[in-house]
């Protein structure tokens, strides 16, 4: 019941927001949807719903973990969207003529509708237990976000949207092929339909056809990997994150990439069940390190701070993948990493939105003296820098730490050294840019900071700090459960 509600409410809200005329009501509707969604997810924490063994939709630990992150980030973004939309309404240069085919309605209504649809599709990703449906849901997230990225409707956002669409569609097509391969691998009796129901697949995994399963994994990996943003499949990511409105970037980075990661983890569950985790591990390790390397290369000397954050997302997805490859307790590290980096990264994107609103430039050398001009945002920005690069007392530290511990324990010293090296380079690159932005500044400008623009980043920052000071038992239990699903334990 509650599961169905989680899906239907966002879709209903999407429809409603198209119909509602007054902006204020619609804004309240979006926030309300987010709040209801969040509270229902919280309800799932308190009263877990036992999974119906045959239901396509169910909540398991892995799903709940990603669902919670998504719901939380969506709530914060929805809060932030009020600030953003108000500002857009006051700055008419964002408006353009309304004569095109798709966007034949008022701007804000459309934006809210797409946001709600996005939430619905992401919830579907987290909840569904059928591979075909999972694929559909992932494709749906791609399609629903495209208009959001295109929201600013200028040449650059157009270019970004186009790249996003084409690359993700190609990726998703490959994932579809992966689905077919998986079907073939799972064939037992030629005349009986193969179920793509996750528990069935896991049950049947040990007797699957090895070659097909392996090939299916590789297709899924490349397919969903494109969406996750693993290098060298990540090329849409910096463009889309830069050109989208900041709150959309926050959702892209924190929720969308994570949902795709969840899809890949579903595949990984089958691989583990089939006893092929040895086959997958070096793929994860190599691609994970490669993602970190690519992030390091592009973060160093990056002049555009939103792009820098985008590459940091590539890095973090790389770290998560690396952790999966290392296996053992590092999987738990990956889970920690996913949760924490999503929270911090979203916070940073929201703050980046504030910066963009204040300084009207995405290049870092146009932004100086934030501490003077916008002290709270600057504080969050600098705290975010240290949080995202893995300094205690923020949560990201523990994710990296657990992964490193296991990397050493399994004797992968070269990988560990590379890991540390890339982290160091990324730290140098990010700190140089972000600190220069925060500090200095001879101009004595002082801007008023809108509380609406600060509430969401503050919430996210506090959560990250909390997760760094102590990992609550409930959270660590859930993450351990999720990790166990991926380690065959």
């Amino acid at each position: 019941m509650i599961i169905l509600a989680l899906l239907t409410i966002p879709f209903a809200a999407a429809g409603a927001s198209i119909l509602i005329k007054p902006d204020r009501v619609r804004r309240i509707l979006v926030i309300g949807t987010a709040a209801v969604h969040l509270s229902m997810v919280a309800g799932l924490w308190v009263h877990p719903v036992p999974a119906d063994p045959t239901a396509w939709l169910a909540v398991d630990a892995l799903g709940l973990m990603f669902l919670s992150v998504t719901s939380l980030l969506f709530f914060c973004s929805a809060l932030y969207s009020v600030f953003y939309l108000k500002r857009v309404a006051e700055n008419p240069q964002y408006e353009s003529s309304d004569d095109d085919v798709l966007f034949g309605h008022r701007l804000e209504a459309r934006f809210s509708a797409w946001l709600c649809l996005f939430l619905g599709s992401m919830s579907l990703v987290c909840l569904c237990r059928n591979f075909g449906l999972l694929w559909v849901a992932i494709e749906a997230t791609t399609l629903f976000t495209a208009p959001l990225i295109f929201f600013k409707r200028n040449r650059h956002s157009l270019e970004a949207t186009w790249k996003y669409l084409v690359l993700c569609s190609v990726g998703i097509a490959l994932a579809l092929l992966g689905n077919f391969f998986m079907t073939i691998a799972a064939v037992v009796n030629p005349d009986q339909p193969v179920s793509l129901f996750l528990p069935d697949l896991i049950r049947g995994a040990p007797s699957m056809h090895r070659v097909w399963l392996k090939a299916a994994f590789l297709l899924f990996f490349v397919g969903y990997g494109t969406k996750i943003g693993l290098a060298p499949l990540h090329n849409w990511l910096p463009d889309a994150h830069t050109e989208a409105p900041s709150l959309v970037s926050a959702l892209l980075s924190g929720a969308l990439c994570n949902c795709s990661f969840l899809a890949l983890m579903r595949v990984q569950q089958i691989m583990v069940a089939a006893g092929l985790s040895g086959f997958t591990e070096d793929v994860y390790l190599v691609i994970g390190l490669l993602s970190m390397a690519v992030a390091a290369v592009f973060i160093l000397g990056q002049g555009n701070y939103k792009r820098m954050l985008a590459y940091s997302t590539v890095e973090h997805m790389g770290i998560a993948a690396f952790g999966i490859g290392v296996g053992g307790s590092a999987i738990f590290g990956s889970m920690l990493q996913v949760v924490n980096s999503a929270v911090v990264k979203s916070m940073l994107f929201l703050v980046a939105g504030n910066i963009l609103a204040a300084y009207r430039t995405k290049t870092e050398d146009g932004v100086r003296g934030m501490l003077q001009a916008m002290p709270v945002s600057a504080g969050l920005w600098i705290a975010g820098l240290f949080a995202i690069t893995g300094a205690p007392p923020f949560g990201v530290f523990f994710g990296k730490w657990v992964i490193l511990v296991e990397t050493f324990a399994t004797g992968r010293f070269v990988a560990a050294v590379l890991f540390l090296f890339f982290l160091a380079v990324i730290f140098i690159g990010m700190s140089k840019t972000m600190l220069e932005m925060g500090f200095g500044g001879s101009q004595r400008l002082k801007m008023t900071e809108n509380p609406l623009s600060l509430a969401s980043p503050l919430i996210l920052g506090l959560i990250s700090l909390l997760l760094g000071l102590v990992v609550p038992t409930a959270v660590s239990d859930l993450l351990h459960q999720a990790a166990r699903m991926l380690s065959g334990g």
């Binding site: 495209a146 193969v194 070659v211």
Partner: protein
């Protein structure tokens, strides 16, 4: 049953090669539509007689043979797109690449023997080749529209592949897939239209402002 099936599959391969060699945009779209019809027909031919299979196969046939070409043609007209394909990799070279990809798909196809008896042993290599040809179209052509066509060809390849497992998959999922592809192409078409408005023509080389 093998003979007509095999010969139709060979036709698909020939169409793929033709796609690589074509210079005119309209022809490209039409050939792609032809391929869609062909594969839709194949799935009708191979699939079961139950209503669901017929429904999905017909839907795919209608979409790929009629709706998509119509949409693309309309986009071309409205955006007054230049009729040349504007290859990034020359047409002759494309065919040579295409043959190499064909060889690669055959090799991969033999590496991946179907565990179930399928309508034809050629299905896997042909499907792979169609997928690769689609990717090649995306990589090797400059216009946004050609990339949509490439994407469609890629989808065709995947659909061809599904012929191998038509008995095993669930029709609801397939419908969902079709729906997604439809929306994807629809949005792409809209974006193409937008691109054209912004940039005057749909050479994606123009779309390279965002870089490091």
């Amino acid at each position: 049953m093998a003979f007509p099936m095999d010969s139709l599959l060979v036709c698909v391969v020939l169409i793929d090669l033709a796609l690589l060699a074509v210079n005119r945009l309209v022809t490209l779209v039409r050939i792609a539509a032809l391929q869609g019809v062909l594969i839709g027909g194949l799935s009708l031919y191979v699939g079961g007689a139950d209503a669901a299979s017929i429904l999905t196969a017909t839907a795919s046939l209608v979409l790929k043979g009629i709706v998509f070409p119509f949409m693309l043609m309309r986009a071309m007209r409205e955006a007054s797109i230049n009729r040349e394909v504007e290859p990034y990799i020359g047409l002759n070279l494309s065919i040579i690449f295409g043959l190499a990809l064909l060889a690669l798909s055959l090799w991969l196809g033999f590496k991946l023997p179907l565990p179930v008896a399928a309508a034809s042993t050629l299905i896997v290599p042909v499907a792979l080749f169609t997928i690769l040809a689609g990717l090649f179209l995306i990589v090797g052509r400059l216009k946004a529209l050609t990339q949509i066509v490439g994407y469609l060809v890629l989808e065709n390849g995947i659909y061809t592949f599904s012929l191998a497992i038509s008995h095993q998959s669930s029709w609801i999922v397939e419908l969902g897939i079709l729906l997604d592809v439809f929306v994807a192409v629809f949005i792409m078409g809209v974006i193409t239209y937008q691109i054209n408005r912004e940039f005057d023509h749909i050479d994606t080389n123009q779309l390279s402002d965002l870089k490091d």
